[in-house]
């Protein structure tokens, strides 16, 4: 939308954006740790990673969607319904693997529907996923009702959310793994290149003989997968499945993380690595304001201001 946008090299802009953010993160960390030394305590730092793990998973998996010039607003309810599905399959006494698979498959399914509608019927992503937001939430509520479903005595399943491996909480490891895989896919596979190509000039990608529609569909499936994965981790973390998890705002936070990272909402240039930066940026800010007991009103205003400033700087760079 911005006038000179095209005129500037993506890499230059990316460079500015990426580093502006890195600098910002460091600055904020310093400020917070001066105000509250406990902020840099290893315990809290790990805490931060754990906090961002969930929507970090969603954000990294949703990055491709944004890169193709789309957007996925349906991650919130997908998170909820995935938790419910795994709860019920636990109840059905399925082995853990199947439980997880079934949970994830719901997400992938929703993603495929999103992607199919966007790619093959060429409907605007924001509307498609907004519609699916309602559809999936409704389905989740029909499936699970308003009640909390307690997940009792499922040590294996609980391990996913509450367990530790080499002193690190499992959710962090899952987050790390997801992030690595996504970075690898983006940098080291043709798919990554194709995603960028589609975001840049879909028609050209098509005329170069690429199955752009299939790719776009796949991209939404990945996003759905991420949301579902997050849903499973959360349900295990809180020993509860609930249809209203991932309330309105979740999807916006995810998108915020991605674009604050410097991936253009118009599609084209972007990267999973930048999304990670964005995730940690917001995470640090959030945690810092909690630790300083900043009241919610200031927190929200600060959040807004920070997004504006971070991206404003990035835009200045162009």
């Amino acid at each position: 939308m911005s006038a000179g946008g095209l005129a500037t090299p993506a890499h230059f802009r990316g460079w500015i954006a990426g580093n502006a953010l890195l600098i910002a993160i460091l600055a904020i960390v310093i400020v917070f740790s001066v105000a509250q030394p406990a902020f840099v305590s290893p315990d809290n730092l790990i805490g931060i990673v754990r906090q961002v793990a969930l929507f970090g998973i969603m954000a990294t998996c949703s990055t491709f969607v944004i890169m193709t010039g789309g957007v996925d607003l349906s991650v919130g309810p997908v998170l909820a319904i995935a938790g419910l599905v795994s709860y019920y399959s636990l109840g059905a006494g399925l082995p853990l693997v199947l439980v997880i698979v079934s949970g994830l498959s719901v997400g992938v399914l929703v993603g495929l529907v999103n992607g199919g509608l966007v790619a093959f019927l060429e409907l605007p992503p924001i509307i498609v996923t907004l519609a699916m937001l309602g559809v999936v939430r409704g389905s989740a509520l029909i499936l699970g009702g308003p009640e909390q479903h307690l997940i009792r005595d499922q040590p294996q399943y609980t391990f996913i959310g509450a367990g530790n491996v080499f002193g690190l909480p499992v959710p962090i490891l899952i987050f790390g793994a997801t992030a690595l895989v996504m970075m690898f896919v983006q940098r080291r596979t043709p798919l990554g290149l194709l995603v960028a190509a589609i975001g840049d000039n879909e028609r050209a990608a098509y005329l170069s003989g690429h199955r752009t529609r299939a790719t776009k569909t796949l991209v939404y499936a990945i996003s759905g997968f991420g949301a579902a994965l997050a849903g499973i981790v959360q349900s295990s973390q809180v020993h509860t499945a609930l249809a209203t998890y991932g309330p309105f705002g979740t999807e916006l936070d995810v998108i915020a993380a991605i674009v604050v990272g410097g991936t253009s909402i118009m599609g084209g240039n972007g990267s999973v690595a930048r999304t990670l930066l964005g995730v940690f940026f917001l995470g640090v800010v959030n945690d810092g304001m909690n630790i300083l007991n900043v009241p919610i009103d200031i927190q929200l205003m600060a959040k807004g201001a920070i997004i504006v400033i971070a991206l404003g700087l990035a835009a200045r760079g162009t």
Binding site: Q51, G145, N290, N293, Q299
Partner: protein
């Protein structure tokens, strides 16, 4: 505030555990039965001429508490085949609740159960319902417009008592953190203010070091408490404005091996919380028999519906005060399975 002060003593007498509570229930029940015996033929008449009564419950948003109410209501209403009952969702938006009220009014519902998001915002709708001769029974949150009946477990005083109990467990001193909900619904304010005032009243030395929003959500509560503990390793107590958030605190306490050291109180008394108390994790919560609340409201509703009380009489609103207890390890056993929701 004033209306709280008057009849204060009266309310205090309810805080004597379930024994007294059930007594109170019984009395309320008999009162109702009395009314019904006067007008019991109302239902009979409806039964005879096949006319049906519509009743609906407009909840705040999908949640355990309203779910329990709805079950209670349904269990009473279903057996009387002349009544159609449905549960409607306010989606945590006053405009939605108001619109649903309008719809029910135009449908000519005979009784509307309402859990208002706000005492004032729904008042006009209630007034409109009254004009249409429809009885409105508010659950949990009172409305400024006088109406047929109000069934509540008092949030403000409940929270005060939580503060007291918590202080007692903490030995009257130390730091506490509040895991709060975002502003926008009145019970949030009552439960917070009550707790803070309670601390001032009973345990002035106890200091609230953190009051952070965790969106009613267990996961958020875990994260927020993690952070707070980093800043205040010597934290003595945590108050979750609802049980989900309190249980989130319990998760953290478990992980950090603070069970027993950290005094954690919730609010609602849902089954998960009670279990956690029995396992000696959650210190306590404010319990009230929400299911019973629903049954009671439904009982009142049948009376009103069958014409026991004329619409004009709604001016003098009847308060059905639900007794509540601060459930802790000592008395949680006394809460029968049938009373858990």
């Amino acid at each position: 505030m004033a209306e709280y002060i008057k009849g204060w003593a009266g309310r205090r007498t309810f805080l004597k555990g379930m024994a007294l509570g059930s007594a109170a229930l019984a009395s309320a029940g008999t009162a109702l039965l009395g009314d019904r015996s006067v007008d019991g033929l109302g239902v009979a008449r409806a039964w005879a001429d096949g006319s049906r009564h519509k009743m609906a419950f407009i909840q705040w948003q999908p949640h355990t508490v309203p779910a329990a109410w709805s079950k209670g209501i349904e269990d009473v209403l279903k057996p009387q085949q002349v009544i159609d009952y449905e549960l409607l969702d306010g989606q945590n938006k006053v405009e939605v609740q108001a619109s649903l009220m309008d719809t029910l009014i135009s449908q000519g519902a005979s009784v509307i159960f309402l859990q208002p998001i706000d005492s004032v915002a729904l008042a006009p709708s209630i007034a409109k319902a009254k004009r249409a001769g429809i009885a409105v029974i508010t659950l949990n949150i009172d409305a400024t417009e006088p109406h047929a009946a109000h069934v509540e477990m008092n949030h403000y005083y409940g929270a005060m008592d939580i503060a007291k109990a918590m202080g007692d467990h903490m030995g009257g001193k130390g730091k506490v953190a509040i895991l709060n909900a975002p502003p926008g619904i009145i019970i949030r304010d009552q439960r917070t203010n009550g707790f803070v005032d309670g601390l001032k009243k009973y345990h002035p030395q106890i200091e609230v070091v953190a009051d952070q929003v965790a969106d009613w959500d267990r996961k958020k509560a875990q994260d927020v408490l993690h952070t707070i503990l980093a800043a205040h390793p010597d934290l003595g107590g945590v108050y979750g404005v609802n049980d989900s958030m309190a249980l989130g605190a319990v998760d953290v306490a478990k992980e950090k091996g603070l069970i027993g050291k950290l005094v954690i109180f919730g609010n609602d008394g849902e089954v998960a919380a009670l279990e956690s108390i029995e396992n000696g994790e959650l210190t306590g919560t404010q319990y009230t028999d929400v299911y019973q609340q629903g049954r009671l409201a439904a009982a009142a509703a049948t009376v009103l519906a069958t014409g026991g009380v004329p619409a004009t009489a709604f001016a003098h609103q009847s308060h059905l005060l639900m007794p509540y207890i601060i459930a802790t390890k000592d008395n949680v056993g006394s809460i029968q399975p049938s009373q858990r929701w």
